[in-house]
Every structure is written in structure tokens, then in C-alpha cells.
Symmetry: C2
Amino acid sequence: MAKEQKAPKPKAQTPKGFRDYFGTEVTERAEMLAQIAGVYHRYGFDALESSAVETVDALGKFLPDVDRPNEGVFAWQEDEDGDKGDWLALRYDLTAPLARVYAQHRNDLPLPYRRYAMGPVWRNEKPGPGRYRQFYQCDADTVGSASVAADAEICAMLADTLEVVGIPRGDYIVRVNNRKVLNGVLEAISVSDEAQAADVMRTIDKFDKVGAEGVRQLLGKGRLDASGAFIDGVGLADEQVESVVSFLTSGRQQANLGGMGIQRPIGQGGGHVASSNEGAFKSLELSRVVQDNTLNELRRIVQGSPQGIEGVDELAEISRLLNAQGYGPDRIVIDPSVVRGLGYYTGPVFEAELTFEILDEKGRKRQFGSVAGGGRYDDLVKRFIGQPVPATGVSIGVDRLLAALREKGRIGSQSVGPVVVTVMDRDRMGDYQAMVAELRSAGIRAEVYLGNPKNFGNQLKYADKRNSPVAVIEGGDEKANGVVQIKDLILGAKIAESASLEEWQDRPNQFEVPRDQLVSKVREILESYT
Amino acid sequence: MAKEQKAPKPKAQTPKGFRDYFGTEVTERAEMLAQIAGVYHRYGFDALESSAVETVDALGKFLPDVDRPNEGVFAWQEDEDGDKGDWLALRYDLTAPLARVYAQHRNDLPLPYRRYAMGPVWRNEKPGPGRYRQFYQCDADTVGSASVAADAEICAMLADTLEVVGIPRGDYIVRVNNRKVLNGVLEAISVSDEAQAADVMRTIDKFDKVGAEGVRQLLGKGRLDASGAFIDGVGLADEQVESVVSFLTSGRQQANLGGMGIQRPIGQGGGHVASSNEGAFKSLELSRVVQDNTLNELRRIVQGSPQGIEGVDELAEISRLLNAQGYGPDRIVIDPSVVRGLGYYTGPVFEAELTFEILDEKGRKRQFGSVAGGGRYDDLVKRFIGQPVPATGVSIGVDRLLAALREKGRIGSQSVGPVVVTVMDRDRMGDYQAMVAELRSAGIRAEVYLGNPKNFGNQLKYADKRNSPVAVIEGGDEKANGVVQIKDLILGAKIAESASLEEWQDRPNQFEVPRDQLVSKVREILESYT
């Protein structure tokens, strides 16, 4: 045993980049996920929970961080009776596992297969402020449908979802683009080298962050970033660069041409929105015209590229389907600058952005930004079975959306704690337990103080820390007289805060009631505060 | 790109010992966990979700499999810019992480701290039938209370929980023992060597499986197991062996002395219960006498061991507290044979067992068995901070409990699928989308068929696979006439099953309604089946 005592104490810490969630952080997330599941379910999506662990082979390598192609996941090698076995890894998203699940179980699943999934995913990345290596995703996907109606449905469902969890209409926008259009632009400017094409895509994806001028530099010779480091450019010719930039800003130009005065603050650190809050889209009709103009402009830019034209046609069809269901461009809008980082998208891509303003860490106003994204990925299942299986879906960044709801004051208010029954007489624990049992039977959250009861002040401090609305006290005298003391802690706190206000002083915050009126009196107090 | 095409296709399979959960498997578990969380919350417990990944140091080594002390977890070493960092691992339970969380955050947490947690845990073990390497646990623990009132509360809450999720009173029993009593027995028979003491504990824990005679052999010279392998015995003297066996069976002897006729089928493969279904405890009063007799018998056996006497006193106090709240030995009973495998328990230990019978894989009747267990572990937090912090708690085996509810028919019935709107005219997808949007707005789960619409038979097969109650059809003629066809698929299935019954033949299972009555008519059909 001596050895054990010498062993150094383990550090009481999560590994770097991981954290714990307490109380309402857990329950508010669970409630939001249940609301989202409700919407997904109503749309006919079925739940799926795949294992957190997959073979590295099955997961594939689709993380956006191309600089470290072998990293990004937490992986280890199986040890089978001393022999080395498969490499296993924690899933880094819910899409790669879906492709594996569909390939494995496709004979038992309906075709098309609509499924939703929610749960943690893990990324082996450098943690940063607010950037964790375990976080929640909440996805919905349709596997086995090539129709853009499936994409349109996902976009409509995303809009519904945001409203159901508490983001009001006008505070969000779902932006839709199409990889085929992006490819069409590359085709139109004669970029055929795959590596260079990927570089252009990644640069377009930085439009939000660096703005038109930044993209112009990055597509050309390069650019000094904020830290003073020089970022090499993609090396396109000036003409090519201007085509891409005019494509990127075509939605905005159209909007301006339409006289809509749409504000799209773009630039370093700036947000990126298609509509401002103050009713910039004064009329849905007008905004539909803008939408049509955007599509026409795109069609002009990709002319000569069959893939590009196909992409614009798909966007037009999505727009038509959504309008038929009442989702106008005030909620879902065509936007050429949406790329989505992941390499596996093959068609429509979408992104949900929250357009209300918050203050960033430096106190500057900015748009809240992206909370969800997705798109069509027709080749992920093909990896497994050799045959193409069309698929499309969306992933909600759960923690981002929770942060948004907190900003809007929808969640995060301090929750009321349990009624605390104090312990005046250690030997009568049975009496106190009976009280909490009665309260609970009446549906009232209640607990008996289980710490050392010697110091009564500590018990009241505990009730305070628990944010308890009511404390119950039964000493020897009360017991003998068949009564209990009830202490209204919310009222008590109010009196303490505003000692001079007669309003509160008139009301006693502690009173005696017959023991058999314990439950009804406590309920009365609780109801007076709701 | 040629390289990529040559790469072998990845296998579409979960790693060995992992599985996927579909549809109601996911939602029924979520609902049960929400019910359990409701009970825990009412008892004043707060939610906690710790990270799935911990340092190996923080987790410690408390898995019961002593033969492989370095295994049992999925672990890997951090790679920090090329340097090797900490060893990380997936949590194997929710208790070890709680000890870390409490040690890390103790200054911000209430004292005592009641918390619940639910989520997957991972064990790197050989998988077997029904034995997976990822499974759910659902725990509640009280940290910082040395009072046995905390243990009693956990036991009462466990009983409440089982009833709330759907295990009726009489179908479960919570069995309580105390490690101090077990230690007292060892002291009384002069087993002081720690390794030998641990061997005796493990043998006692096998009482359920091998019965009294098996324990007798294993404590003595050893025993041939079912496969013909010889298992070495602990090597106790005959007298010592008999003391342990009489201790183990003391509850039963008392029961028999009390004339209660309690059935406790014990032996190879047999279950292990404290009360049979047929009202063996005819009177709660009598069973309280039995309980008292058991305590007296235990007190006799551990005499001379201060720790043993302390343990019996604690059991008596737990029994008294539970009786005061109305939890008699028909629900929670003292049982000397409960050990619980984990090495970290230091005081009261408990186990919830379901006592109804099921058929095992060979068609033999047996008790359903254990679904939850826990106990007091006063030293887990001490590992981190050097000072003892008392703690007690329970863990529910979520999958076992779900299996039990399935056995009882509480869950697992086939769920009704969504209304399916079929696609007769590919170009009018907008019309069909508008229909499902209307149905959903009315709270009706609905989807449009998104597969290739060419073959209408496939659409109806799809609706069948989805277990849809209703299909909606709108062809060109219907559209022109402002009507839709509604197909009652539940009625259709009934007619198909019992074609000769006039009852069904009188009702048409497909009819035409005006388009604007779509929602009300579908609702009418759905309501007729609920």
C-alpha cells in the first residue's frame, strides 16, 4: 500500500479542449434538441443513433483542414489478443457515419431514407476560446433521392426549425447556392486543374471574412493577413479574378439594382447577410424579382458551361418549389457566395445565418452569423458500394444555436431550485424525508438537507446556493405543536434588496402553518411567483 | 485521381462490438431517459454532462476485470505538435468522471452536490451476444454527504424511477447490503490478507450464478466449471467457508423461519430474488419482522468486528428511514448477498432486480434480473484532492431496463408512420409540397414521396414500408376537378387480412374529397385509429 500512497495525485481536469456542462446548460440543450427532433419527425424523418466509434476506413477523410490530412480525428489501433487490428476513430461528424449506415443497412431501409441524428462529435484540433474538441451536431438527411425537391425540403425544414426553437422570422436567412454553379464559373474562366479549383473554392469560402477586396488579392498574387504574415495567392490572371468577384457579388449588385437598399456589410471581421432587420425587403414581390434577376445574372456568368447551367436550373427549381410552399426570399434566398468547406458536396449547398447583431469580444457590432449548413453529397455512399447514391442534408451547430437563443433571451434565465427541507434534529431525518416525499408526490421539486446539520446558517446558505424558493423548518417545538415554519426565500431576497419599500415589509417572509398544510402552503407560494 | 479509384472500398460495418439504433429504438430510449430525468430532477438532482474523453490518469482503474488491469478502456496518446502528450481514454462509466468533475469544480458546486448524468460509456472488452462496447448509463449521485440518509434517498428514488418508467410495484425489488458488513464477516473469520479478502468478495458476488454449493467449493479447494475447466479455490478452511455461506443465506433462513415461504431459486443459471410474484410477502408487517430478524442474524455473525457492527447499524438506519417514507421491504429489502463488482465501494451497496420471469435463450424460465446498482464510495474524490469526500450513487443499465419494458409490452409496438403524399405528376412537385406543408401545420406527420415517381406501385410499397396510415393521391383529373384521393392504408391492410369479413368490406378504403378538405379528412381517419 505504501506504493499507492506515493503515487502522485491525478490532476482534476478535463483534457485540453474538453469541458463539462452543468444544470440548465444540459437541460436547455436537451429541450432544444427535442424541439428540433419534433420538427424533423413531423417532416417524416426517422431517428438514427450510430456508434460514436467507427473504423478510420469507413469515416474517410473529409475534414476541411487540408494542411493536416492525417489529423483531425481521435484514432487508435485495435489490440486483438496482442495482434494489432483495425484503426478506430471517434466520428468527426454525423454525415460520414450515415453513409456507412446506409451502405450497411440499405436492404432494410426505405428508399428514399429520411433520417435525423443528434449527438456529440469529436475533432482532434487545436482548441481555442469557445472552440472545443467535443461538440454537438444535429443533422437531417435524405438518402436516395436525386430530386432537388429533397434539397428544397431540407431548406424549408431548416427555416421551420429555427422558428420553432425561438429564432423569429426576420432574424435568420437560409442562403442557397450550388456547387455546379461554382464549378461552372471555374469552367467559364478555364480553371481545370483540380488543385487550383479547390484553392479557388476555399478562397470564395473566405468571402465572409475578407470581403471582395480580400478575395481579389487571395485569388491573385496574395495578401498580408492581420498578423502580418503573407498568404500566397492562387495566382489567377486579373480577368479570371474579376469574373469570380463579379460572380460573388452578383446577388448584391442585383439587389442594389433593384433599388432595395439591402445592407450587406462585408469586410474583415464583418458579418454577411442578405437582408437587414429594418424591413429592407419591403415587399416580398420585389424580392422575388431580385431573386429572379440573380438567377439570370448567374446564368449569364456560367454560359458555355453545361454543368453551370444545370446548377442554375436546379437553383431556379428549388426557388420555385419553396415559393409554392410559402418560403419566399425573406427566409430562403439564392446567394452565390455560399461554398461550404467540406469537399464532398456535389450540388446544392445551404447555410443558415442569423442576421441580428451582437457585440463581439471587442465590443463591436456584428451579425451573429452561421448556425447550420449542408448540401448535396452524391458520392459518399458510393465509396462503400461502388454505385452512386444521391443524398442531401443539413447539420445544425447546436452550441452556436444555443448561444444565439441565449443572446435573444430565450434561454439562460436562472432556474428556480428545489424546496429545501432543513434538518433541525438529526434523529428525526425520517420526518424530514417524509415531508419531501409528500412534496414530490404533489409534483413539487424538493430535497432534504444532507450536509452536516449542526450549523443552521450553512443550511440556509445551501438553500441560497441552490436558488431555492422555499425552506421548510421543523424544530422540536414545531414538532410538539404539530406545525412547520415556512420561509419564503424569494420574498426574503426581495426584502433584503429593497429594505425600505413598505410593499415588501408588510408581508412576512416566514410563517407557521399546521403540518398537514405543508404541501398546500408551499404550492401557494410557488404559484404566486409564476 | 487514378490512385483513389484503385483504393479498395471501405467495409460498410461498425467496428466489432458496436451497433446502430434505428427509429423507435432511439426515441423510446430518449423518452425513458426523459422520464428518469424527471424523477431525478424532482428529487433535487441537477444535470451534468461531462466530456466523453478523460485523461487515463483521471479515470483511474476501477473496472472489475482484475485479470486485465491495463485494458478495459479505449485509450490513445495525445500528439502535440509531434511530441507525445497525455494518455486520453473514453469514459468507462459516469462515476469516475463525476469524481474528477467534483474535484475540479468543488468551489462552485453546492455541498452536498446532487447530480444526475446520462449518456454512452465505452468498454474495450470482448463483445458477445447482446454485449456491446458502447452502451448507455443513467446515474444519480450525491457527493459530500456522509449520512446514510443519502443512501436511503438513492434507494427510494430508484424504486420511484422504476415505477415511473413502467415497472409495476411487485415486479422489482431493491436489495441493500453494506460493504462494512462484508468486511466484518471477513474480520470475524480472520481473513486479513487484502488479496484473499478481494477473492472472497468476488466469490460472494458469484452467489447468484453458482449458488451456495458453488460458493462453498470456490471458497475452499475449487470447482469444475460448466466448460470442464477447473477454477482454483480461495483456499479458506472449512469453518471459514461455512461462516460465509451461512452469512450469505441468512436472509433466506430468516425468511423461512418466518414461515413466509419466500422462493429464492438459487443455482447455476438461476435468478435470485427476495420476493416471488405470488404475494410471498403476504403482509408488510410480517416482512418487516423478517427484515429485523435478518439484521439481528447479521449482527450475530459480525460480532467482534467493530466495522461489521457499524455496517449493520447503517443498514438498520437505512431500513428505518425508508419505512418512515413508506418504502417497506416489499420494495426495498436488506440482502446480505449483494456485493457489487466494483472495487471502490466503501459502505452501503444496492442493486435493483426485476423479479418477473422471462424465457432465456434456451426457452427456460428465469428471473429478469439486475437493471441497476450502486453504493457508497467515499474515496474516489480523495484520489484527486487528498481529503476524503463521501459520496453515494446509483447507475441504471439503460439497455437492460429498455429490454425489460419491451418484455412487459410497455414499449416496442410498431409505430405509425407519416402520411405519404404520392407524386403523380413530376412537374407538380410544388402542389404536393404544399399539401404536406398544410398537413404539418395541422400537426400531422407527413412527407412527399421523393423517389423516382414513375412506378406508382413503388410509391405504395414505400408507404407500406414506412407504415403509413394514409396515402394521398392527386393526378391530373383530380387536380382539374379540385379534389384529392385519400387511401386509408390501415383499413386497406385490415381488409386484405380479413377479406371475408363484411364489417370491413362495407367501408371503402379509398375515397375522393375536395382539395380543401384534405387536412380535416386525414385527421378524421387518424383519429379513428387512436
